[in-house]
């Protein structure tokens, strides 16, 4: 498969989840900004990763493949240990890295800007336990994506949003319903 110069460092078979705030999806469709890393120094309000207080530099994702069991079991495990408070209105977007890269290549192979994706990498960046949350060994960062200050990031983000295969409630529906 020709990945049009997109980094070979990216394990393209990986399935990942990306947390989706409730203002960034509608009618089952996810906005591309979900896949644009925030970066320190921007004028807009930076929200912090609650685990370490540090702003995002890569795209924070969760690897599904690091877990065993059925998909339902895996996602429930992620919900239970995710290092931030989850709300029923939030979602997890599921996608396969290979699908995302394929779409990127389909749409952008002819653009010079695709060279900016040559250093994409999926880094395993487990999060240690805190007073509020247990350790979260499933955490990964996708580095090398264009950040928000780069106009190209909007295009990349929107393309990747079309690779989303499922939107999972961030809180299991039976749990959200309460006792």
């Amino acid at each position: 498969v020709d990945f049009c110069g997109v980094s070979d460092l990216l394990p393209k078979e990986s399935r990942i989840l990306r947390h989706v705030p409730n203002g960034k999806y509608q009618d089952g469709k996810v906005d591309g900004s979900v896949f644009v890393p925030r970066v320190d120094g921007e004028v807009f309000q930076l929200r912090e990763k609650l685990s370490d207080g540090m702003p995002e530099t890569g795209l924070s994702v969760v690897s599904i493949d690091l877990l065993d069991g059925t998909d339902v079991d895996r996602i429930n495990k992620i919900r239970a240990t995710f290092p931030r408070k989850l709300k029923p209105s939030q979602r997890f977007a599921e996608l396969t890295v290979a699908d995302a890269v394929q779409l990127v290549c389909e749409k952008m192979a002819h653009l010079d800007e695709v060279e900016q994706l040559a250093n994409l990498a999926l880094l395993h960046t487990p999060i240690e336990a805190t007073d509020d949350y247990p350790e979260f060994p499933l955490h990964c960062d996708i580095t090398g994506l264009p950040i928000r200050t780069n106009a190209f990031s909007a295009l990349v983000g929107e393309v990747i949003s079309y690779a989303v295969t499922h939107l999972h409630p961030a809180v299991a529906e039976d749990a959200a319903a309460g006792p």
């Binding site: 900004s33 807009f44 749409k107 929107e158």
Partner: protein, 287 residues
């Protein structure tokens, strides 16, 4: 009445109700500018009706008075004619205070008063024109206009000789989603950009939207308006709140299979043309 040198965004048209506008009684230059000068922040809805000859628009507003700060954006809609072509405007009052007929007059006045110099094509240089430039370079010089009388049986907006055009969706179709995003913003401690929301409303006024878009709240408080069908049929715009937007457009010509991608920055007023150029207008615009 104000003189022609008065700020052109003054917009209290209360006295228009007493004026007779027609081919035999066009007001002298500047004679209908009057009223308050500090109304330029009032939200104004521009109703855009695409015609065979270009673009036509008019202001409307929920209440008095109108602001006249928007004509520049109106002018950027396209290549409408600025000569003495008679425009047929619906002059039927749609509200108890009879405001809509005055809206018509205001719109025509706006278009004609701010007609660009012949050598300047505003559509292609919107970024170069500021409101101050309008004030200094395009002092109001209302031209001879002809209006269909208020008792005209014609309903809706129409350019004389053209077909009657259907309207697009009202901005009100998004009220629930906007309310939802406001609640989400409060919950997420994001300061939602009211200017971005104003741009959204203006976008609805700029073009006859036939499909309700998706709305997303971005981390910076801006709104992204988005039409999404597939990776080859997509148009989204981050509304920056200053009349600019950051578009992402994917389209594919079914005949040539040529794919288009576009990103960058664009003025709101250019978005209709942008969608047309991408071949997405038939999808997004009302028939």
């Amino acid at each position: 009445m104000r003189s022609a040198s008065a700020p052109i965004y003054a917009g209290d048209f209360a006295q228009l109700g007493e004026m007779t506008i027609g081919t035999d009684s066009a007001p002298a230059a500047g004679s209908w500018w009057s009223g308050s000068e500090d109304l330029h922040d009032e939200p104004v809805r521009v109703i855009h009706r695409k015609s065979l000859r270009g673009a036509m628009g008019v202001f409307s507003h929920d209440h008095w008075p109108l602001s006249f700060i928007q004509p520049l954006e109106l002018m950027q809609l396209g290549d409408f004619e600025t000569g003495t072509e008679p425009y047929c405007l619906d002059a039927k009052p749609s509200s108890s205070n009879g405001a809509s007929s005055l809206f018509c007059l205001a719109a025509v006045g706006a278009i004609h008063a701010l007609s660009p110099a012949p050598q300047l094509n505003l559509y292609y240089v919107p970024h170069a024109i500021t409101r101050d430039a309008v004030r200094t370079s395009y002092l109001p010089t209302p031209r001879l206009i002809e209006l269909i009388p208020t008792d005209s049986p014609i309903a809706g907006w129409q350019l004389v000789g053209d077909e009657i055009l259907d309207s697009g969706l009202s901005f009100s179709v998004l009220e629930d989603r906007v309310r939802e995003l406001r609640n989400i913003a409060a919950e997420e401690e994001i300061e939602i950009s009211n200017k971005s929301l104003s741009d959204l409303e203006q976008l609805f006024a700029l073009m006859p939207i036939g499909i309700p878009p998706l709305l997303f709240l971005l981390d910076n408080g801006n709104i992204r308006v988005s039409w999404r069908e597939s990776i080859n049929k997509h148009a989204s715009f981050e509304l920056m709140g200053d009349g600019e937007a950051k578009p992402v457009i994917f389209s594919q010509d079914p005949a040539t299979e040529i794919r288009n991608q576009l990103y960058g920055a664009v003025s709101l007023a250019r978005i209709p043309k942008l969608l047309e150029a991408a071949g997405l207008d038939e999808w997004i615009f009302a028939a």
